[in-house]
């Protein structure tokens, strides 16, 4: 692959990686809001099969974001290895931890932050490899 091709591959990979991470983290945040019945009771329904009360005002956009997450991730898997995509998009776990602390008031103690830092280090190491191995 020439230099322009490699640059294009990197750029494409980063754009899709960011989309995957953001859609996943915000999708999870919305799901959490959805199962905890926010927004003053508007849009509340019970899912009988799972015995969960959910708020559709949060759940529906959350599902929309998770569909976007799935499609962008599958597109990324079209050229990048699974063993590249998983650790690199693990930054979504970090963003989720930050969002949980910011918007859900969940207590994130030192251990959880240390775990988060390890995940970031793992991500950085894997993102230094080429997204395409020699699988194909």
């Amino acid at each position: 692959m020439d230099i322009a091709g490699r640059r294009r591959l990197r750029l494409k990979t980063w754009i899709f990686t960011v989309l995957v991470i953001v859609a996943n983290a915000f999708g999870n945040l919305f799901l959490d809001k959805g199962v905890h019945g926010a927004a003053g009771g508007i849009g509340l329904v019970r899912l009988p099969l799972f015995d969960i009360e959910v708020n559709l005002l949060w759940l529906v956009p959350g599902i929309g974001l998770l569909i976007l997450w799935m499609l962008t991730r599958m597109a990324l898997l079209g050229w990048a290895d699974l063993t590249y995509v998983l650790p690199v998009t693990a930054l979504g776990y970090v963003l989720s931890t930050v969002l949980a602390a910011m918007f859900l008031g969940e207590r994130v103690d030192g251990r959880r932050w240390a775990g988060t830092i390890l995940i970031v280090l793992g991500t950085a190491l894997v993102s230094a490899t080429s997204p395409k191995g020699n699988a194909r």
């Binding site: 898997l77 699974l82 063993t83 776990y93 995940i119």
Partner: protein
Amino acid sequence: MKELLVAVVVLATVCADLLQSAEMKQVGELDDFRPSGIQALLRAMARNKYLILAVFFMALSFFAFLKLLTIADLSYAVPVSALTIVIDTVLARVLLRERVDWRRWTGAALVAAGVFLISAA
């Protein structure tokens, strides 16, 4: 109950990941970002035999995750599901025959250590 739900989420996600990756290795790379190119990719994805199974496992993982969120913090549920990265890395090496160099093994191990710290908190 919490551990059982975590196990269902992790195993269903691993199955979905492997099936999605196998599918996309067959479907190929998105290179044409015009609407027609994206449509062609979506059509090729829909025709592939692995998609239905992958969607089934994703749905299973999704509902188990939703149930997990009702009894656990998001900052527990999300990181603990990162266990999939370790299992996926081993299975991608064995089943998908991906070349996993030391940086990818180490990266997966660091992520696993991070998951352990977060879930043991």
